[in-house]
């Protein structure tokens, strides 16, 4: 130990190795830049493994995501990949859904067994989203290599007709789609509810929603998702600081330095990868997290007691 890299974090109440935190931030930032997900569903469990209390890990991660998504949004904005109109509508829906979700979780907790529902929701959502994206991208990649068959429009037509009938149609030029105003609002609420129940930013649900239900092009999806996550996490950081004092700003800054650099690299990597490759990578990642969570549910824990907090 020629160089002492340990740093004491007063809010977390423990010391950490600076390099470990920087590396962790870099890795998650890279994924965040490539896929437009906040990475909260990866970062928080990893921080807990490094000895940070669950509540502090989750809150500080939100603070870090503020910086990471600023950096990511900025990079995507320069590339013209942020649909502000769509992002704002999703955000309004998301905030409403988030408040609703917090109430739902309160009721569930009062009824008991909320934790069970949270874990099951997690596994099912991750499995469904990851599995669907994976299969869909695999098919698309096969199709593009085979001779082109004109069957795609026929498949989409029923869903397209249904959403075409909704009122308040408007153009979203940046995404190149025409949709009802209600679509992003309602889907925003749905994602907000799920995100609040699961205690995550919701990026990994929002991305598939934008791709499959709003029919937005993948690259615009990533930029817009980051834009929306930025606001969600500003809100969470301030709320957590005021109510629970669980934001460790030093931890967040270290993660941020790593993740901001990672996000910049990730944005460039994401641009080089094709849309289908991008989707299949994200699907694999989501499925991997799902398998880990399922394993945790099935395997006997080392210790049968846990500290309160987290979820």
């Amino acid at each position: 130990m020629s160089l002492d890299l340990s740093l004491y974090l007063p809010i977390a109440g423990n010391s950490v190795n600076c390099l470990a935190i920087l590396g962790l931030g870099g890795l998650v930032g890279l994924l965040s830049g490539i896929f437009g997900v906040g990475g909260g569903f990866l970062m928080t469990p990893l921080l807990i493994m490094l000895g940070i209390p669950p509540t502090v890990a989750a809150a500080s991660d939100s603070n870090q995501i503020v910086g990471a998504s600023t950096s990511g949004t900025f990079a995507h904005f320069k590339l013209g990949n942020v649909d502000f109109k769509m992002g704002l509508l999703l955000l309004v829906g998301g905030v409403a859904g988030g408040s609703l979700g917090v109430q739902i979780i309160k009721i569930l907790r009062a009824l008991g067994n909320a934790d069970f529902l949270i874990s099951i929701t997690y596994v099912l959502m991750l499995g469904f989203v990851g599995g669907y994206m994976f299969l869909e991208s695999l098919q698309a990649m096969r199709k593009s290599s085979a001779p082109k068959v004109e069957e795609a429009p026929k498949q989409e037509s029923r869903y397209a007709r249904a959403i075409g009938k909704l009122p308040f149609q408007m153009d979203f030029p940046r995404s190149g789609v025409r949709l009802s105003l209600l679509m992003p609002l309602l889907l925003g609420v749905l994602v907000g509810v799920l995100a609040a129940i699961m205690g995550v930013g919701g990026g990994f649900i929002m991305v598939p929603v934008m791709v499959y239900l709003l029919r937005m092009p993948m690259h615009v999806v990533v930029g817009t998702s980051l834009f929306q996550i930025l606001f969600t996490c500003v809100n969470v950081t301030i709320m957590q600081s005021v109510q629970n004092h669980t934001v460790d700003f030093v931890l967040a800054l270290l993660l941020l330095i790593g993740s901001s650099i990672g996000a910049q690299v990730g944005t460039k990597v994401g641009k080089k990868l094709g849309g289908e490759q991008l989707k299949i990578c994200l699907a694999t990642l989501v499925l991997a997290v799902m398998v880990k969570m399922l394993y945790d549910l099935l395997a006997r824990p080392d210790v049968l007691l846990a500290y309160m907090g987290g979820h």
Partner: protein, 258 residues
Amino acid sequence: MKSVTFRNLALAALCLLAASLFSVPAHAAGITIQTTPPSVVMGAQYDGAPLTISGTVPEGSDVVLRFTGAPADMHLREKGKLFGLLWMNVGKVSVKNVPNVYLVDSSRPFEQLGAAVTSYRLEGLRDAIEVEEAAKSPDLDIAHELLLLKQGDGLYHESEAGVTLGEVVDGMQSYTATLHIPSALKPGDYRVEAVALRDGSVSGSATAPVQAVLTGFPLWLNNLAFDNGLLYGVMATLIAIFSGLAIGVVFQSKGGAH
């Protein structure tokens, strides 16, 4: 106080002061205890700290040292199997009288020290811990799982034969040991206790208070976070946004060819 300090002139100034303040003679045996440094100072570089404990016990005694915090209530989640398949948080367990930290060491292996030493070992905490809200599963050994949890954090630690016995002067034997204070220690008041054992029974003990205090940057940050949460939250957010933008700009100018 002056008369006390004059007796200890041979010691260095700091130890001398500490000794005069903290030496608590117990029983007629005159067991003494002092710590170096006198308090645990937690600055930006704090990563746990060695705490050297020394003093004297009557000649021929063995020594057990323990470092503990004030016992407190604790609420924990109980993990259990649901539907015979899934491991979940199935309930809440409340326990009383749990010290936040418990470090113990001895001058000889515990098994050579007789039955009296058992209550000072980690397993001895079993008797002290009171279960207030019991586990749903009747088989769950709460004290055992709690000890495992705390040991995993480094907050509970038991070692043996780490206390070195030194010279005998005027029928009093000196001892010294270094305990490693864990990095997850919370700031607050703790105490260290020296227990003298002779022929398998406790012959006396002495305690000294040890404070764990934040200093420098961690202290400043902690105060801001707890005294002015809104300001702290806004500051954390703004710095994050600013840093994100700054890094974005740096990358933009470097990767100009894009």
